[in-house]
């Protein structure tokens, strides 16, 4: 259990982050926006915050939202990358049989994470990060091995990214949502490792990485 997760640089001032087109985050402007969030949260299943929000200090909530929106946009950028990666990879047709069966839902999960994170950022009154343009080394999707080895890198990176933010998230509902996504990324990482005869259980404890370290690693795949 390392503690590489702290501290991390705010997106707004991190040059690496600006590559991702990160936008400054907003806080709730009025009660209407908060209500909108509550409705959307109920739809996506993040829960319910009506009681929680009404019991909390409004100023503290605004602060928490600025911080948490930044984290949500960071997660969104990574999910964009994963969704794009699997969409291209599956289109490439390198997989068949059980591998195809196991990877197809992963793309659906990543797309679902993109949609949910986008909605959540909007509902909180923030501006969702724009989808970057991605680029992958030549031949990434030509054969099963290259595709899945790259997938493994992404999934393990995604896991460390979420775990790096656990301690930074201030809102309980956003934490629950992020954790519920992180667990799914762990499943993906394990399944992909198994498919390439790697190690699905590289550690008894998930590792974590700071936002800066993750963005640096992911930056290789960002065109603009």
């Amino acid at each position: 259990m390392n503690s590489e997760n702290l501290p991390s640089t705010p997106l707004a001032t991190d040059p690496a982050a600006q590559v991702f087109g990160a936008k400054p985050v907003m806080t709730f402007g009025d009660e209407g926006q908060r209500r909108k969030f509550l409705r959307a949260a109920a739809v996506v299943g993040f829960g319910s915050t009506l009681v929680a929000l009404s019991q909390r200090d409004k100023l503290a909530l605004a602060d928490a939202s600025a911080n948490d929106l930044e984290i949500l946009n960071y997660a969104l950028t990574l999910e964009y990358l994963e969704a794009d990666f699997y969409t291209r990879g599956l289109k490439g047709g390198a997989l068949k049989g059980r591998a195809l069966e196991l990877v197809t839902p992963i793309r659906e999960h990543e797309q679902s994470h993109v949609a949910t994170l986008t909605d959540t950022v909007k509902s909180l009154g923030g501006k969702p990060a724009a989808k970057p343009k991605f680029t992958y080394p030549d031949g990434t999707f030509d054969d099963k091995d290259t595709f899945l080895k790259t997938a493994s890198t992404f999934e393990e990176l995604g896991v460390t990214a979420y775990h790096g933010q656990v301690a930074r998230i201030e809102d309980g509902d956003i934490l629950a949502a992020a954790a519920s996504i992180a667990g799914v990324e762990s499943r993906h990482a394990a399944v992909i490792a198994d498919l390439i005869d790697g190690n699905p259980f590289p550690s008894s404890f998930e590792k974590n990485k700071s936002m800066k370290a993750v963005l640096k690693a992911a930056g290789t795949f960002i065109k603009s």
């Binding site: 009681v51 839902p105 896991v159 656990v166 309980g172 667990g183 499943r187 008894s204 404890f205 974590n208």
Partner: protein
């Protein structure tokens, strides 16, 4: 007598989306009621990890598996033992007393390779939901939260691989949708109780 079917039935009650949503909707309420504080959460997790570690110790000793499955379940046993040690150390480090290991009885779980893998699969998915359900109770304890989350992710890996070994369908078997679902303490207790003869806490 408990059998695997009871366990699976009990766990099935954990997972339905509607229940998950409802639980998320009342998360703050039940989180406050479920646990009296961080140590209580950690002892709850420790009891589950004791249960899992002992389960794999007995199961692996039964020598039902070979090849990749044997390797994977040996690795999972080591992970669970590492979780037990880490949780005990953490609780002691907080100046509290770790609960004792529960007395367990896994019934017919080790009668065959299939029943071993199926019960393991059920345990792991239950563990994932248990950690997620308890997470909000650690919200203010950032260090503990990170530690608990790091265990939770590994339980999710175990659950997925046991789904693969059991040749489960991808969605609904290996994966449980795009979002993990939380379970309340009561639900977890109900699902685990068939295996627990006596426990200090759960």
């Amino acid at each position: 007598m408990i059998n695997r079917r009871d366990l699976i039935k009990g766990t099935a009650a954990v997972i339905p989306a509607a229940v998950g949503l409802q639980m998320l909707g009342t998360k703050w309420a039940f989180a406050a009621e479920d646990f009296s504080g961080p140590v209580d959460v950690l002892n709850y997790a420790l009891t589950l990890e004791y249960l899992e570690a002992e389960f794999y110790r007995q199961g692996n000793q039964a020598d039902l598996l070979s090849g990749k499955a044997a390797d994977y379940l040996a690795a999972i046993q080591k992970d669970e033992e590492a979780h037990v040690v880490a949780l005990k150390d953490t609780i002691s480090g907080l100046g509290a007393t770790p609960v004792a290991a529960p007395e367990v009885d896994f019934g017919p779980a080790f009668k065959s390779k299939a029943s071993y893998l199926e019960t393991a699969y059920t345990f792991e998915n239950l563990g994932v939901s248990a950690y997620l359900g308890a997470a909000p109770s650690l919200l203010k304890e950032k260090g503990l939260l990170t530690a608990a989350a790091s265990i939770f992710g590994v339980e999710a890996r175990h659950a997925a691989i046991l789904g693969v070994l059991g040749k489960k369908e991808a969605e609904g078997g290996v994966y449980k949708g795009a979002f993990e679902k939380p379970a309340t303490r009561a639900t977890v207790l109900k699902a685990a109780s068939p295996f627990i003869v006596k426990a200090q806490t759960l």
